[in-house]
Structures are given as C-alpha cells and as structure tokens.
Symmetry: C2
Subunit: 593 residues, 2 copies
C-alpha cells in the first residue's frame, strides 16, 4: 500500500473509512463544530480521521470506531479548523522551527511564509535551505518566493533570486507563489524583471502576493490588473474598502511589524462587508509576543474583541486563506477529504486553545507539546554570513567636511517605519560633521555585509531619541546589512565589530561597554535560541533604548526599516540616502541653488 | 504585439491602460455596481475596459478615455458581473449555439456544460465535436467530461469515454473537470473505472462534479472524501444543510429538469447560512422556458422573489461559481484583470437585462443580439446516428406468454423521474401479454439504437396516463436509445420507425396517424431549429399528452427518465428492467416462491 504516491488508492480507502469498513485512527466525539462553510456552530458533531484525513463529519461516528481507534471526548468544546497564517516570515530573529514550535501550541496548523531574510543573504541557496528546514515538520509550512529581496536593485545591495531561479522554484509543489511585491512602483514602471517573475508564478497557476502600501484608485487598479491578488497593507478603513472592492484578498495584520486590527476590523463591521476575502495575518510574529500571547489564536481573539462575529473571525484564519491559495480542498475546514488539522477550544470568545491536531495527530494539549521536531543542523556557511573583511575603525563613521558648519539632509522618523526629510545645519569640528545628540540628531550608518566591498554610507537621523553611544543590528528589511545608529564613532565601530565578530546580531554599546547583546548567527538574522529567550532579549533591548530617551515603542524597528526603500519617504542603504518616490539617491549635503 | 500568446506583454499593457497611458476601448460611466467581492452596491462607479479585460473600477475613469474610447452611459443602471451557469447541458433538444444565442440575450456570459448526450451517442468523438462547436463563441463555454454517459456499464448500453480518453481530455485548457457523478454508488463500491477517471481530473487540478441525489450522512461524507466537490441535487431543506456543512459547493437548480428553488432558497435564508458555496444552476434549460422567460436572469429573479438578498443572489450566479471552478481571477466579478463580462440591469429586483457585455464587447442590447455566431456545420455522420438496421414490426412490441393471465412487474411513475415497483396481473390474449389502458397500464419499450444489435426490451408502466397509441423519443438520460410508451403495438412500431427514418426525434402516433413530430437529427437529441421553435414543439407535445389523460406536468420527462438507472427505484434499458438499488436486472414475470 503506497498511499503517499497513489492518490487513487488513498481516495478508495477514505471512502471505506467514511463508511466504517476501515476503522478510524481517531474520532472526536461531541464537539461544537465551528462550521466555516455554512457559517454555523453545530453542537453534537463527531469527526472521524483516517490516514491523517478527515473522513466523516456528522452526528454520529460510531460506525467508524474500532478496537484501536483513539477517542477524544470533546466534552462540548468548540472544534475549529486548524488556524492558518496566510502571510508570515519565519527567518527573522528565531529559526523557522522555533516559530513552528510556538505556533503549534497556539492552534496554528499551516503557515504561508516567505524566507525574505534567508534569500537576502544567501540568494536561491537561502530559499532551498528554508525549504529543507520546513519540510517534514508537524504542521504545514508552504512557501513563497520573496520578491522583497532585493526590493530595488537600483537602490539596495542584498541578494535576490534570478528569474530563472524563480521559474525553477515555481515548479515545486510546496512553493505556492511569489511573495509580497513591496516595490509595487516597479510594476507600474513595467520593470522587466518583475514581470518575468510574476509571469513565472501565474504560468504555474500560483499566486502573486501584493504589498500595495499607499496605493489607491487607478494605481491599485493597475496592480490588480497586473495580477496582484492580495494585499496585507490595509492599515485604515479606506484601504480595507478599496482593496476588498477590487477583489483583492485583503489581509488584516496584527503581529511583529504592525498591529492594524483596531483600524481594520471596525471597517469590516461598519460596512457590513462580505468578509470572504478578508484574512487575518501576522506578517511575522514578534518572538516575545508569540511566547506570551500566542499567534493566530491571538489574532482571532483580537478580531472578536473588536466586535467581529466569532465564526467570521475563525473563517478569516482558516477557510478564507485556504481559498485564497486555492488549497481549500485540502485545508481550511473540518470536512471530509481535508487534512485533519483541527483545534479544540475551551472558550470561543477568548479563543482558549486546548488540543491541537495536525495531520490527524494531537501535537499539543493544554499548551504542552506532544510532537517532537526532527533536529536540523545548519551547515557552517549559513552561520558565517557577515562578509566584512576588515575591522571597522571609528574614522569610518566620520563624515569629512570643511568650514564651521554645513546643511545636510536628515532622515526624520515619523514612525518606526515612515520617515520624512529634514534639512539641518550641523557643526563641523576638525574636518568632521558632528551629530547633535542634545537635539536628537544622531548618526546612522549602513555597511555592506554581503559582498565584502567595504562599502559604507553615513548619514544623520532624528527622532530615534536614544542617548546611548551606539546600537547596531544585522537585521533590516530587506537588506540585512549592518545598520548602526549612535553619536559616538568609537561606540559605533565597536558595535559594528561585535556583529562582525559574532557573525550577526543586535548590540548596544555605550562608552565602550556592551550593554545589551543578542547574537543572531544564522544568516545574521536568526538566533538559534528558543523564541521565549529571543523575545525577552528583544524586549530588553527595546526597553534599554526607551529608557535612554527613545519615544518609539520598538526603537529597533527604526533600524529595521531604515533600509526599507519602498516605504515613504527618505531611506538609506550602504549605497546612499534614498528618495523613495523618485527611486534616486540624494546627496547628504544640501547646496542652495 | 502577440497579446494572446504573451501574457506578460498583456499584463504590462493592462497596467498602462489602468493608469490611462493607453486609452480604453470601452468605458461604462456612472453605474450602480453590484460588487460581489465586498457585497455592496456602489453608486457612481466607472469601469474601463481594454483588450477585453477590465482595467479600472472606481469613481472616475476619465483618465482612461481617449478619442476612440466607446462610452456607455449607465444612467444609474445596475452593473452586475456577467451571469455564470455552473452546471448545464447544451446538447439536449437544441444545438449548443441555439442555447448560447438565447443565453447571451439574458445576461449569461459563461457556462459550464457537459455534453452528456453527444458523448452517449458518439463517445469521445462527441466530446470533440462539442469542443469544436463551442470554441470561438461570443460567450465563454467551459466543458466537463460527462460521467453520466455511460451511467452504469452493468445496466446501460450507450457510449462512454475510456479512462485514457478522459486523461487526454483533462489536458485541454477549456475542459475544467469531470461531469456529474450520477452513479455515486459506483464510488461507494470502489469502481475502478470511476476512480481512474476521478484521478485523472484531480491530477490535472480539475473538478469532479457531484450528483449525490439521495446521499446522506456517512455516504455523503464518503463521496466528499473521494473528492466530489459539488452537488446539484439538493432538492429539500435537509439536503442544502448537509451539503453546505460538508464543504460541498451546493448548486441550487431551476431549469429544464426540475425547479428546486422554492425548497432550497428558503432553507438558505432560514438558516442564515453562509452562501459563499451556494450556486444557482439550470442543469439544462428547457428551450421554451429559455425563449419565454430567460436563463440565469430568471434564476436570480426567482431567488430574489423567494426572499434572498439581491446581491447574494447575483453572487450565486457569478463569483461563487467562479470560485468553485478556481476561475475567479478571470471571471465572476467586476474587478481589474478579469474578462470584461458584465450586464447592465434596468431593475435589480426584477433582474431586467439591458446591455450584455462579453469579452469587452456589447453582445446584446435590450434583447437585440449584436454579436453574430460564426456558422457551424455538422458533418453528416453526426446527423445519422440512429443505428437500427431493420424496420420494427408491431410483433416486436409483443410479449409472449401462455395462460389467461400473468403477474408482471410494472414500473409506476411516482413523479416524472422517480418510480416504484408494482405487481399487476395482466391478461393474455393469443399468447401475448396485454396492456390495460383503462387502468393506465401501458407498454414501454427501449430499443438499442447505438450498436445495431436489434436489442429491445418491452415492459409495462403505470402513471403515464395518456390514452394515445404511442409516443416515442430518441432522447433519454443518458442512454438516448429509442423509448416508446403506448398501448397499440402498431402505433408503437410506427413511432419507432418514424424516429429511425428521421434519424432522431420525438413523435406521437395514434391509430396510424402522426399527431405531433419533432425531428432531432443531431445525435438524435438536438433539433437544428431555433430554441423558440423547439420550445413550442415540446410544449405542444407535452400539452397533447396531458390532453389525452396524462397528469404529469411534462409527460415527456417520464420517457426521458425511464432509462435513468441511478434514480429510484425501478427503471428500464434495452437490456431489461432494472432494480436501481441492487444494480441488477429483474424478470418481467413475477413467480411466487
């Protein structure tokens, strides 16, 4: 019996199992089924499972119970489909398996992830590494080819996949499309590379995920016409309406990057909108939030708390994403033929996860993991990816200038991710342009760590707020270069050199002392430690930055988004200061005409 | 510019058109858009069209209007997506193009059809004939491979497609799956042929359409587990609930065969069910109803009249079927990137169709057709398909018996399609078993017309009611043999011979006189005449049968369903009387044990 390779044989056996001629492996008795198809809650529902699939759903599965059938008495608990996260990242701060361990406990049985960080560092090799790591896990991980690494070859310098590599990747069953199109202006500009990659996805009948932040009216129509099928950048009411009305699968976010539900869920409710194309996504989880509060259970709970009907909220984390990825024959609901991915909830409105079943097997009960993850070891080359040949001297962080002062462009943080341009007159001492920490004018540097070029750009930022000597990170979207913010060149150099030595990480240095450290040796973006540890370290780092003056909630995000060359309005890479809209570099010095 | 063969080039041009850099071919101004994605009606909506695709939907398409752009002022009419019929037949009574002509006028821009009759008569050749005929029509016709021809090789004798032919057909882009699985008991019995064909469809990522009449609880679960994705046999409230809850796409029917909406729509409303998987289908249109009352506009109207929200009703004839067939990127809604298939309605609740746009071109305005159908001529072999070598004598319709009387099985019509077994003592005269027309016991004969075998079965029916000598038809599901019902052997022979001579048709003969005739030369199932003519003839024939005593609404359906060996409970083919449940032949004579 080669069930795996013989779908016909499997289909026959599922028929026999449904009718009780082959006995079930698992039967759930008397649950209150959250039926995502009919939109009802149906008490007294039995579910029978065989070969990891659901074979019977109805009032009485007695005929499927045999001597070896395992029975789970639901005792009137709510039974939901396993939760799906339709857009996440598993290669940021923690390893994919550490995220998966956390997800499992919180009822998530399937995620769609794009390894943007791995690809930014290793190119196609990073994609393959990711696919190897996530295969054979206790829950399903489907992948998308990142389109944000490289966001824009004109401006950034990280690695990317070639069109040929994208075409090859689309041939893999577990790759379901092209990841978020952050650089949507390249689509409007008819970028040949972009269209070739989109074509590869659509020719393979796979998805092109949108990221259409700030696009409206005819621009949004143009992106939809080009074949973009979704967007997870609806951050306010108007965005939700516009995207749903154009037939885009509208992903509402609450997670590591932003929490938008307080704006977006009320829009759904107020407009009495059809929610079938609304989807809850994390867009990557903060490890600390994951450890403390949960994953998709948290998102569903948030949506319910904001007033959404609980069944609707569950649909937005199960059937809707399954439909979007055209996977609803296999996942997203409790119905015959689907994989037996299910969650028993103690409480519906609080979304209290009790038992999590994946592929027909309980993987977690009351927060205790039951499934072991096969160990995975990373070849050394993935742990030594910071390519900076020479140690950095403090001098490298100086900007040469003459005279007593000069007017320069300053990147002002409007929020953690959005900036605007400011012009500021900075003092010059001993031929070097100085920051003004008293006025919160700090230095920022971005250093190439991919190509061993020694390339480094120094500029100035305002709004970061910390008075410490330097904070540095090898995590930033989607460049993952070395970003350093600070006001003492010696501290900045020490911070950068610490990351160089540790082959990745986040560090705070003040007056020559390491105040906080978090090594991220895998790709320079991931710790090998558990999510709870990493979450605690990130909290401590953010806390330290706030305590030293930053008014940002998560100051680290300012470093992360500094290189994000497709969000407004002025950003910075190792190659220079970037005017996002014009897709051009700007000189540091402002010379009046 | 080879747009057709270069999707990348097309996508680029759609982007330019959306942003007004290429001017639109067509712009609809100021419509009240029925937005099937968001579930809203949005006044003041403009839609721009280029290359047959929608490129812009929003408040103002002014930027897309150029010198040669055609403008349609909607004048506040409602704009709906073109209607989709997700399950129909185009090879019954009229030719495919005659149906398409009628559909176009009524707002239908896409149908999913399975040429069950052509295949029953010509096998794979019939499928290919159908695909040739429906290619290049002004509206979209997608095809399914019939699974009902042959319903059951154990019982019937029409042609079918081999598994190899099904596999080949699944490779065609315009073939979207396997047609209705009327013989669902064969699935429960693990019929190898059935599973191989289902496997061919699923391997090609295509649909297996259900026909699960009468299946409940674990049998329905088993069919869903086997990969059945839909059912159009929900005829009462319970059926609707059961099917939707199991995740089946539940097709609610109103058309040539049955009108179920009065039972099924109230079930949807009463249960406040999620309707995303509910779909309106005709299951084949009666040509007369099509000519007089319409097609999907009629179904949407019926659903609204029965209390359904109009936007929901439109979704059930547009987005929902598009989602079911995984075609929603291309059809089913008014959104950028989709084919410009749209309907302007003068009135929403009455679903009064004004302008019909298909592939970006108006094909009908106020009932007047604007699009011409390319002529199509059938090779002679498709017009000469009645394979009965010898004329039939009255003697062939006699049943030999000895004694004064004999107890025989009688097929009693409970409805036009459902029968039950009756035992009746029939008189014998001159060695021949006699009908008892005074008690409405008539003779029925089924004659092989596919294989030139001369095979013929004679039995008895009750409940038909007509007192005329004979009525005969070469249309019957899905055998399309010669079926004759009557009480005078000479009239029965004359009727059969008329069909033999005309190479197909329906005829009423009484005392040697032809009372009604309708030649159906194409495959023996289709007239070459317009739908209005054929509809009028069918009405006249049914009317004549009613006038002569039949209490059935459409007595012809009793002939049509006599050979339908998968509906309860006792049927008849050229090979014998059939016990449907047991899948066995029954002797005519009842011998007490």
């Amino acid at each position: 019996m080669k069930l795996k390779n013989d779908p016909r044989e499997l289909a026959k056996r599922l028929v026999l199992a449904a009718s009780g001629q082959l006995k079930a492996d698992l039967v759930i008795k008397q649950a209150r089924l959250i039926n995502v198809y009919s939109g009802e809650i149906i008490p007294g529902t039995d579910v029978a499972v065989k070969y990891g699939r659901i074979v019977y759903v109805g009032p009485n599965a007695g005929h499927t119970v045999g001597d070896t059938t395992r029975i789970i008495k639901a005792q009137n608990r709510f039974l939901a489909p396993g939760f799906i996260d339709a857009h996440t990242h598993l290669d940021l701060y923690c390893t994919p398996r550490e995220f998966v361990k956390g997800f499992m406990r919180h009822g998530t049985t399937c995620v769609f992830a794009e390894p943007a960080e791995f690809v930014s560092v290793f190119g196609y090799e990073g994609m393959k590494l990711f696919l190897r790591e996530v295969s054979g896990l206790p829950i399903k991980v489907f992948s998308l080819v990142p389109m944000c690494s490289l966001q824009d070859p004109k401006l950034g310098s990280s690695r990317e996949m070639s069109p040929e590599e994208v075409e090859e990747a689309m041939g893999r069953e577990e790759v379901l499309g092209l990841g978020e199109t952050v650089a949507w202006n390249r689509i409007l500009n008819l970028d040949a590379d972009y269209f070739r990659k989109m074509d590869a996805a659509r020719s393979a009948n796979k998805r092109v995920e949108g990221h259409t932040a700030g696009a409206h009216d005819y621009k949004l129509s143009a992106l939809a016409a080009a074949g973009i099928s979704s967007c997870h950048e609806a951050v306010q009411e108007r965005d939700v309406y516009e995207r749903l009305r154009l037939g885009l699968w509208t992903m509402l976010r609450h997670g590591g990057v932003r929490n938008d539900l307080a704006e977006t869920i009320p829009a759904l409710i107020k407009g009495r909108l059809d929610t079938r194309r609304a989807i809850l996504v994390s867009d990557g989880m903060d490890p600390g939030v994951l450890a403390r509060e949960g994953h998709m259970d948290l998102l569903v709970r948030e949506a319910i708390t904001l007033g959404l009907n609980p069944v609707t909220a569950v649909q937005m984390a199960s059937l809707n994403p399954a439909e979007h990825y055209r996977m609803a024959d296999y996942i997203g609901g409790v119905a015959p033929g689907r994989w037996a991915d299910m969650v028993l909830l103690n409480d519906l409105r609080k979304v209290k996860v009790h038992t999590v079943i994946s592929n027909g097997r309980p993987v977690s009960v009351a927060g205790r993991p039951l499934a072991q993850l096969k160990p995975f070891s990373y070849p050394a080359r993935y742990l030594t990816s910071i390519k900076i040949r020479d140690k950095l001297s403090p001098q490298r962080f100086m900007v040469r200038a003459s005279g007593a002062s000069a007017r320069v462009r300053v990147i002002q943080f409007v929020s953690e991710s959005i900036t605007k341009e400011l012009v500021w007159e900075l003092p010059i001492r001993e031929g070097s342009l100085l920051p003004v920490p008293d006025r919160d004018i700090l230095k920022a540097a971005v250093i190439d760590r991919h190509w061993n070029t020694g390339r480094l750009c120094v500029g100035f930022v305002k709004g970061f707020g910390s008075r410490l000597g330097a904070v540095a990170s090898s995590v930033n979207f989607d460049e993952n270069n070395l970003v350093v913010i600070g006001h003492r060149e010696a501290d900045m150099a020490q911070a950068a050199n610490w990351i160089r030595q540790k082959q990745g990480g986040i560090v705070i240095v003040d007056k020559g002392k390491l105040l906080e450290t978090l090594p991220l040796p895998l790709a320079g973006t991931c710790s090998l430690k558990p999510a709870s540890y990493v979450g605690a370290r990130l909290n401590a780092i953010n806390q330290r930055l706030r305590a030293s003056g930053s008014r940002l909630e998560r100051p680290l995000n300012a470093l992360i988004f500094l290189t994000f060359v497709t969000l407004p309005r002025i950003k910075m890479t190792d190659r220079g200061i970037v005017d996002v809209k014009k897709r051009e570099f700007l000189p540091l010095f402002v010379v009046d005409p």
